[in-house]
């Protein structure tokens, strides 16, 4: 397994970063559960817990800076993603939406935080797990709200259609609800983080490689680094956007499962 920086020892040939750079070696011996992404996930949970405990512990009428920051994030998720989309029953789902949003956000940010610099969600399993949880939540909510018969009937049979047409339409509904929704949710998050990390690696490692070349190449390398820095800011936007989209879609699916008519 090639680590991120090992190409320096491989002579003059520039080895472009590839998907292999996302397979990180275990930190402790051969234990496959001690890789960097695993530790980053734990770190994100610790950081989030610390932040929100500290932000809410000494809650005051006139908030401290930290309380203000925590409350801003919370209010944003509750009002914009919860209340506006799910409707009057939204408070039940705010804890889930809030945890989901902050968890994805911090894990995405790890992609550009110096020293950490690895977006956890660029390993697809993490994105799959989040997709599966959302999938379970919105179906469970729908079944609890409507009862399993009515919920399935709402999904499978669009009203006001001649019966033979169901042969054509029902498989599409099933594929949408059971496969496409959780899959696109996971893949969107994974692919964005994966591609963003790859892009940053290309510009920054490329700039470093140019720096070791002839004098003309050395002169070009600042441009590569400048692009790398500009793209880092761009990545920041993408990371926030992806956390937002994931939570927004979760809220939309829950709202759809609760809706009385489809």
């Amino acid at each position: 397994m090639r680590s991120m920086y090992s190409f320096l020892a491989e002579g003059d040939e520039f080895v472009p970063p590839s998907s292999r750079d996302f397979v990180l070696p275990p930190i402790f011996g051969d234990n496959p559960y001690s890789t960097k992404p695993i530790f980053l996930v734990f770190l994100s949970v610790i950081l989030l817990s610390l932040f929100f405990v500290m932000a809410s512990r000494k809650a005051a009428i006139v908030p401290s800076k930290m309380q203000f920051a925590g409350e801003t994030v919370y209010a944003y998720v509750r009002n914009e993603l919860g209340r506006d989309i799910i409707g009057h029953e939204f408070m039940r789902f705010v804890p889930y939406l809030f945890s989901l949003f902050t968890f994805i956000l911090v894990n995405n940010w790890f992609g550009i935080i110096p020293m950490l610099q690895f977006p956890t969600m660029s390993r697809i399993s993490f994105a799959y797990v989040l997709g599966i949880i959302t999938f379970a939540v919105f179906h469970y909510v729908g079944i609890r709200h409507h009862g399993i018969i009515k919920y399935l009937k709402d999904i499978l049979f669009m009203p006001g259609v001649p019966k033979p047409v169901y042969i054509l339409l029902t498989p599409i509904e099933v594929a949408t609800y059971l496969i496409v929704r959780p899959l696109t949710l996971s893949l969107r998050l994974f692919a964005n983080m994966f591609a963003g990390h790859l892009l940053l690696m290309i510009f920054i490692l490329g700039g470093e490689h140019l720096l070791q070349g002839a004098i003309t190449l050395k002169l070009v390398s600042p441009f590569a680094f400048a692009f790398g820095i500009a793209l880092t800011f761009f990545e920041f936007l993408v990371q926030c956007l992806q956390a937002y989209i994931f939570t927004l879609l979760t809220a939309l699916y829950i709202g759809g499962a609760l809706a009385d008519e489809h």
């Binding site: 989309i85 498989p171 599409i172 949408t176 927004l248 939309l252 759809g256 809706a259």
Partner: protein
Amino acid sequence: MSQNNEGAAWTILGYLLSGPLFWGGVGYGLDTWLGTGYFLASGLLLGMGAALYLVWLRFGR
């Protein structure tokens, strides 16, 4: 959900993906099974048409 435009957009995207995906998949299966070459294309078209019909049923009428 239909009163929410953003929700509608994502639902439509989902249908337009899974329509061709499912019926295209059926067509591909038939092509492989029977050794023919036209079921995949017809399946994709059928799926796209059905998905558009579904979108119209849900949001258009």
